[in-house]
């Protein structure tokens, strides 16, 4: 009886391994060039848009076929490190500027400068193109971006006697005043998901003249001065002096804060621009909301751009074909379709204009798209130890500051000393 059990186990093992081997891998056959495109598209509409663009390319280019390899965002950095080191990276790599730059610095990405047509270069705003330029080499085509916007409950603003701002930009002072006007009883003026505040503060610092870093790579240095401290201090003031920020939201993510926005507990919320699509989908019936103009600090409405990117593996046997495909993928129509599906801002001016023309002001699109003109490159994208500093120093330090465990001077000292410890 027991022998039979052992035999069954052995047979099971062999059978399952054989079955497994049947489904594994596939050899390369002679025929058309096949490019592997590791795509991180995650929304059903964006997956569909990506598949549609690739299908169109494949139909028009029988000799250069593109095969989509869908991959999730979770763990993709580790996957890429292994793929590049193991010589098994795809031809075309979808990622984001802040994370792809280290791969370029390490020499894993092809220089696309000579492949990107001049019209395309001119079509990409300078600041965004700078965010994918490393040592004068264009290492990726930027595709999709987000900016931080203020979403407001129009009814609550009107009930508080606030005129909904409509200009090209809106000052932080204006935001503060509206927050004060709409804070009444159990309702707060603002909900701001600052559980992981570093990205928000880094992105919005350019409006206050904050750059944080000087230099690139391992030579970068960090200075936390007036421009860098302006936004954290403003948030602190609004939260604890004005008492216009719903405290619990400061411990939540942006998405979690939306529940308070829908419930009317906060009149406004600062969110990634892509949340417009979620608000349109999830807000209660009759919820009257609006996107307020981009926030402008003393130095303007600039925000750091961290675009999603398409790069080419330098070891690909088909760098030129891959670059041609990416150029096709980022055509005005394709980029507009993809960004509409993902509720993001296209990286080219022409695609932004096309979306503005086709979508109008539905769900705040025109206001969101107008913020695209203020997206600019940021030094942190090109700093080697940024990710480590962000996770181990900056985020805990900001969290302590926002919880009033440290004051502004202590925050600045913690940020700078933490950087020194990491880089010494």
């Amino acid at each position: 009886m027991k022998t039979r059990g052992a035999s069954i186990a052995a047979c099971l093992t062999i059978t399952t391994l054989l079955v497994a081997s049947c489904g594994a891998g596939s050899g390369d056959d002679d025929g058309p060039v096949t490019l592997t495109f590791q795509s991180l598209s995650d929304q059903p509409a964006a997956i569909e848009a990506t598949e549609s663009i690739v299908a169109e390319w494949n139909e028009d280019h029988p000799d250069v076929q593109v095969e989509i390899v869908p991959t999730g965002w979770d763990g993709v950095y580790d996957k890429l490190i292994t793929q590049f080191n193991g010589g098994a990276a795809p031809d075309i790599v979808h990622y984001e500027a802040a994370s792809i730059v280290p791969f370029a610095v390490d020499g894993y990405l092809a220089d696309l400068s000579e492949y990107m047509p001049d019209e395309k270069k001119a079509d990409i705003p300078e600041g965004i193109l700078d965010s994918v330029t490393v040592d004068d080499q264009i290492i990726a085509y930027p595709t999709e971006l987000q900016s931080y916007m203020v979403f407001a409950n129009k009814t609550q603003l009107e009930d508080a006697g606030v005129e909904v701002p409509t200009g090209d930009t809106m000052s932080w002072d204006e935001l503060r005043e509206i927050a004060q006007a709409t804070t009444t009883g159990g309702t707060y003026g603002l909900g701001w998901g600052l559980a992981s505040p570093t990205a928000t503060f880094m992105s919005m610092a350019p409006g206050f003249g904050g750059t944080y870093f000087e230099g690139t790579g391992a030579d970068a240095s960090l200075t936390v001065g007036e421009g860098e401290m302006a936004l954290p201090e403003l948030v602190n003031t609004m939260a604890y002096e004005d008492e216009t920020i719903l405290p619990v939201t400061m411990t939540q993510s942006g998405s979690e804060t939306l529940a308070s926005f829908y419930a009317g507990d906060v009149a406004m919320t600062v969110q990634g621009s892509y949340q417009a699509a979620n608000i349109a989908k999830d807000a209660p019936e009759g919820f009257d909301w609006v996107v307020l103009p981009p926030l402008a600090g003393p130095d303007g409405a600039e925000q750091a751009a961290n675009p999603q990117t398409l790069s080419v593996n330098i070891d690909s046997e088909h760098v030129e074909e891959s670059a041609e495909f990416i150029d096709f993928f980022t055509d005005t129509d394709n980029l507009a379709a993809l960004n509409e599906a993902d509720a993001l801002i296209p990286a080219t001016t022409s695609a932004q204009e096309e979306m503005t023309a086709s979508l109008g002001d539905e769900n705040g699109w025109s206001t969101i798209l107008s913020s695209g003109q203020y997206l600019t490159s940021a030094p942190y994208l090109f700093v080697d130890a940024y990710a480590q500093w962000k996770d181990t120093v900056a985020t805990p330090a900001y969290q302590k500051f926002l919880a009033q465990e440290t004051d502004a001077d202590q925050l600045a000292t913690e940020l700078e000393n933490g950087w020194d410890e990491i880089t010494k």
Partner: protein, 275 residues
């Protein structure tokens, strides 16, 4: 006082079951809620409206069923391999004395301290050399290797618990060494084998990182890889479909456990000490 002991025990047990079962109930609840309800401040275990579309979306997307099949194949194969290798090895480890045993035990313990991130690159290069990256066979071998030390540790504990006297009694009754193993040791080890098989199966079924890095083709993706695709960039999460996919993903584990649980208790009852 004694009359209160039994109700208190039941109350404690009930609380423990609620503690264990609540996350699963919450997951099931989330899997049938609409996106709007999931993003509202109203918290309720019972959905306001049953939103079965999450299951349809989950099944329609990313080849969930195919990846579940891949996971099942890899989990069953690695479990079978682990048991086949660990069973005799555990017996030797438990019964052997001397330096080889010490070295074996040392290897088991040391192998547990290496973080996955440290071994993934050399592992990837080795598998690439033998053509087993992007292959379910390669992943099965990796899962087997990764699970084996702990499985060995578990099983050798079960073997050590079997009194040596029983084996000696069998030998004195004229049984050969093989007969002693087959008729006495293996039946007594059944609960240990079942427990180890459960551990191996669940470890492989849930394993994410090796699968993420080693598998390149969507047709080879296992379930954890497919489920992470519901989590997007910029903090976007398709919570409803993700919950629905997770509920579906839990079903094979629950079925496997319910089958094996009978064997686990059955094995315990059919022990060697019969009087």
């Amino acid at each position: 006082m004694r009359t209160l002991v039994r109700p208190a025990q039941y109350a404690a047990l009930a609380l423990y079951i609620v503690f264990l079962g609540f996350p699963l109930l919450w997951l099931i609840s989330a899997s049938v809620k609409s996106s709007a309800e999931l993003n509202s401040l109203t918290v309720s275990l019972i959905p306001q409206a049953w939103h079965w579309e999450n299951y349809a979306q989950s099944l329609a997307r990313q080849g969930l069923v195919h990846s579940a099949w891949n996971s099942l194949v890899v989990a069953l194969a690695s479990t079978a391999l682990v048991i086949l290798i660990a069973l005799p090895a555990a017996y030797v480890l438990a019964r052997l004395k001397g330096k080889i045993r010490a070295a074996g035990v040392g290897w088991i313990l040391v192998s547990q301290v290496f973080p996955v991130i440290l071994v993934i690159l050399p592992l990837f290069l080795i598998l690439r050399t033998i053509g087993l990256t992007d292959s379910l066979v390669g992943l099965t071998l990796v899962h087997t290797t990764y699970t084996l030390p702990f499985a060995l540790w578990m099983l050798q504990g079960y073997v050590a618990a079997i009194p040596l006297d029983l084996e000696e009694a069998g030998s004195m009754d004229g049984a050969t060494r093989f007969t002693v193993l087959r008729r006495i040791v293996v039946p007594l080890l059944a609960p240990g084998v079942v427990a180890t098989a459960m551990f191996s199966f669940v470890s492989s079924w849930n394993e994410f990182f090796f699968a993420l890095v080693l598998l390149q083709s969507p047709e080879n993706y296992t379930l954890p890889i497919t489920l992470t695709m519901f989590i997007g960039g910029e903090g976007k999460v398709a919570l409803g479909p993700l919950a629905a996919g997770s509920v579906l993903a839990a079903i094979p584990s629950i079925v496997f456990f319910s089958i094996m649980q009978k064997k686990l208790t059955g094995g315990l009852l059919s022990g060697a000490v019969k009087g």
